[in-house]
């Protein structure tokens, strides 16, 4: 049975294991991981945006540079067609910036014959066919191609049509190539730095996150120590609710409540143990005394028989106490659910009343029952509760008194059973204790009747059914006990 159960549990995937691992991970570790993930996300977005902005900006610069150069060369060719020196300077020298050619210029005539070009161009490895088609004279926006040379350099290429000659009658083709390898290097550097920043950021934030979490959780440790000290000391200690972060106030309050419950339960338990000891003392005292007195001298057989019979009565008393205490103990174990059957509460009540009618008649009492209501409950326990109540009612009434037992179904579906007598009644100060174990009224104690467990058993039975029992009484007027069973649907 058990192993089959375990097999069924094995089915659900690894995911549940991971979830459980995450749930049981320390808060510090969880916060550190969360901080790291968040930092990674934020830094990735920011550096990504920056990278994008730099790329766009560099692209713009190169485009503008090419546009300007096209404009300058066109102007020179148009305005100063004969100024070869200026052209030479522009083509040969302007280009040679810091060691190597930043850009190349080539000017050719309409037939493809090269007239001027920057000296490094043929050796640069740029494929002449990679240049885009020249833009017409009317256009100022350069068409751009890129070219990757065998030497690993990257160029932006453009070409444009220009006019020259005294009347602008001659067509020239201007080709420009810009070395943008530097841009690549800058972007590469940027990427490396971004990676470093990301890595360091994640690491730092995890570290700081752990620190912050540890600092933030310090009151929890303090609370744990306080709780430890409180419980170790005494149950009547409480946690001061004011001295804690607001988040802990409900926890402290809940803990105080738990302590209060525990204290109450402990008090009840020790009171109960004292009562039990007292309750056992009487029969055991009788047993010891009788046995001692009987054994003190030789007697005839009848005396021995008398003693043994009397002993037997005491043993039975002990056995009854044990029996009822076991019942109460079991009823308080919430794992025990009463069996549920549907029956007419009125019919069962009638039945139990019939059992007690002879006893009531002998005591000179009238005993009646009335009413009907469908009830879902444990029939045996219901009968047990009723018989306890009727027994009490009969014992606490005088000749001529009346006992009425009624069943009624309330509008909300509650089934109410009332056992009302016109007997002695219970004093107000004793009423709240009648459901306590071993409690007996002053009158009961003097005549030694009852075990003091009857009403406790009734209360247990009602609790098992999710219902309750209430008692109203007035000295000299009688007692009414009401049982309430909750509506069937509400259970």
């Amino acid at each position: 049975m058990f192993s089959r159960h375990a097999d069924a549990q094995r089915g659900p995937s690894k995911r549940r294991g991971l979830i459980r691992a995450w749930r049981s991970a320390s808060i510090t570790a969880r916060l550190a991981i969360l901080y790291a993930v968040l930092t990674l996300a934020i830094l990735s977005v920011v550096t990504g945006l920056l990278y994008w902005a730099v790329t766009v900006s560099l692209g713009h610069d190169d485009q503008r540079f090419l546009g300007e150069k096209v404009h300058v060369l066109r102007t020179m060719l148009a305005e100063r067609p004969d100024d070869q020196a200026l052209l030479h300077e522009e083509v040969d020298w302007e280009t040679g910036v810091i060691g190597h050619a930043r850009y190349f210029v080539q000017i050719s005539n309409g037939q493809g014959q090269v007239l001027n070009q920057t000296p490094g161009l043929p050796d640069s490895g740029i494929n002449p066919k990679a240049f885009p088609a020249p833009i017409p004279i009317s256009s100022t926006r350069p068409r751009i191609n890129t070219s990757q040379t065998a030497a690993g350099r990257r160029y932006l290429l453009t070409s444009a049509i220009a006019r020259t000659g005294s009347h602008g009658q001659q067509r020239r083709i201007v080709r420009l190539a810009v070395d943008v390898s530097n841009d690549e290097r800058i972007l590469g550097d940027f990427r490396r730095i971004a990676e470093l920043v990301l890595l360091a950021g994640v690491f730092l934030s995890a570290l700081l996150g752990a620190g912050v979490a540890r600092y933030g959780l310090r009151p929890l440790g303090r609370l744990a120590r306080t709780v430890e000290a409180t419980t170790a000391l005494r149950l009547d200690q409480r946690i001061e609710p004011g001295a804690w972060p607001r988040e802990f106030v409900p926890l402290a309050a809940a803990f105080n409540q738990l302590l209060a419950h525990l204290e109450e339960a402990f008090a009840r338990l020790s009171g109960y143990a004292a009562d039990l000891a007292h309750e056992l003392r009487t029969p055991i005292n009788n047993l010891m005394g009788e046995a001692e007195v009987t054994l003190a001298r030789r007697r005839d057989v009848t005396d021995y028989e008398q003693t043994l019979a009397s002993n037997l009565e005491e043993y039975q008393r002990l056995a009854r106490i044990i029996d009822r205490l076991l019942f109460l103990a079991r009823a308080e174990n919430t794992a025990v659910r009463p069996a549920s059957a549907s029956f007419d509460a009125g019919a069962v009540l009638q039945d139990v009343v019939d059992v007690y009618r002879p006893t009531a008649e002998e005591a000179g009492l009238t005993l009646d029952s009335s009413g009907h209501a469908p009830l879902a409950a444990d029939r045996d326990l219901f009968r047990r509760a009723l018989s306890n109540l009727l027994d009490n009612a009969i014992r606490h009434s005088e000749r001529g008194d009346r006992i009425g037992a009624t069943v009624r179904r309330e509008n909300d579906g509650t089934v109410a059973i009332a056992i009302a007598d016109t007997g002695h009644g219970i004093a107000a100060d004793e009423q709240e204790r009648v459901f306590d174990r071993f409690f007996r009224s002053a009158a009961d104690r003097s005549d030694g009747a009852g075990s003091g467990l009857g009403l406790a058993i009734v209360q247990s039975i009602m609790r098992l059914h999710g219902g309750d029992v209430r008692l109203t009484s007035e000295i000299g007027r009688g007692t009414t006990v009401m049982l309430h069973f909750p509506p069937i649907a509400a259970k």
Binding site: Q316, A319, D323, R330, D354, V355, P358, S387, N388, D391
Partner: protein
């Protein structure tokens, strides 16, 4: 009738043996589960009184092994716990009845007899004790040719006493059989019923048949 008692408590085993022997039973005693099971499988007992809490092999297992070996010997379980689970577990496991400790010896004796009788054919529809005759079919009671009027409960009570004539029946057993309930309070329901029955069955006649056995219960017999 041959009984086997499986009980590890020496004092309990001793008084059970003595009490049952004095009531005409042959009694074997085993002090632990293994020994008990062995004897139960070897011997031909009419009934086994089996304690649940036993060293080595507990009563549940003894019962289980016994039934697994297809032995139908009636078993009366003695349990220390008054749990409903225990009752269900015991009866489902093949026990014929059970008693919760502490129990009265008269209770045990009565239950042993009930279980043993169960195996025998149904009792006669007419029971006679001395000059008292009870006819279950016509639901009529006669004593010395005089008809006795009884209520249904009184009839059930008298029938129980007559079927077990000569046996002491405890209040618990009587309330269970006649009213189908256990009374919590120190209720005198049984006493009142017996008193009323006496008024009808014994009072008009010379020799009383219903007797009180102090501390134990009631017995119907001609004395």
């Amino acid at each position: 009738m041959h009984l086997l008692i499986v009980e590890d408590e020496t004092k309990t085993a001793a008084y059970l043996r003595r009490g049952l022997q004095e009531n005409g039973f042959r009694v074997d005693v085993a002090a632990n589960g293994i020994d008990g099971l062995h004897r139960a499988l070897e011997g031909a007992h009419d009934l086994i009184v089996l304690d649940v809490m036993l060293p080595h092999l507990d009563g549940w297992h003894v019962l289980q092994e016994l039934r697994a070996a297809e032995r139908t010997t009636p078993v009366l379980l003695l349990t220390a716990r008054d749990g409903v689970d225990d009752r269900v577990k015991g009866l489902e496991g093949g026990a014929d009845d059970y008693l919760v400790k502490p129990f009265a010896f008269s209770e045990l004796l009565a239950r042993i007899r009930v279980v043993l009788r169960r195996a025998q054919p149904q009792s006669e529809p007419v029971v006679t004790v001395a000059d008292l005759v009870l006819d279950v079919l016509t639901r009529r009671a006669m004593r010395q040719e005089a008809r006795i009027d009884l209520t249904a409960r009184e009839f059930a009570l008298l029938w129980l006493l007559m079927r077990h004539a000569g046996e002491v029946l405890s209040r618990t057993l009587i309330s269970e059989k006649v009213w189908d309930m256990n009374f919590d309070g120190d209720s005198n329901v049984v006493e009142v019923a017996i008193r009323r029955l006496r008024r009808k069955v014994d009072a008009p006649f010379d020799a009383p048949l219903i007797h009180t056995v102090r501390g134990m219960g009631y017995v119907l017999e001609a004395r």
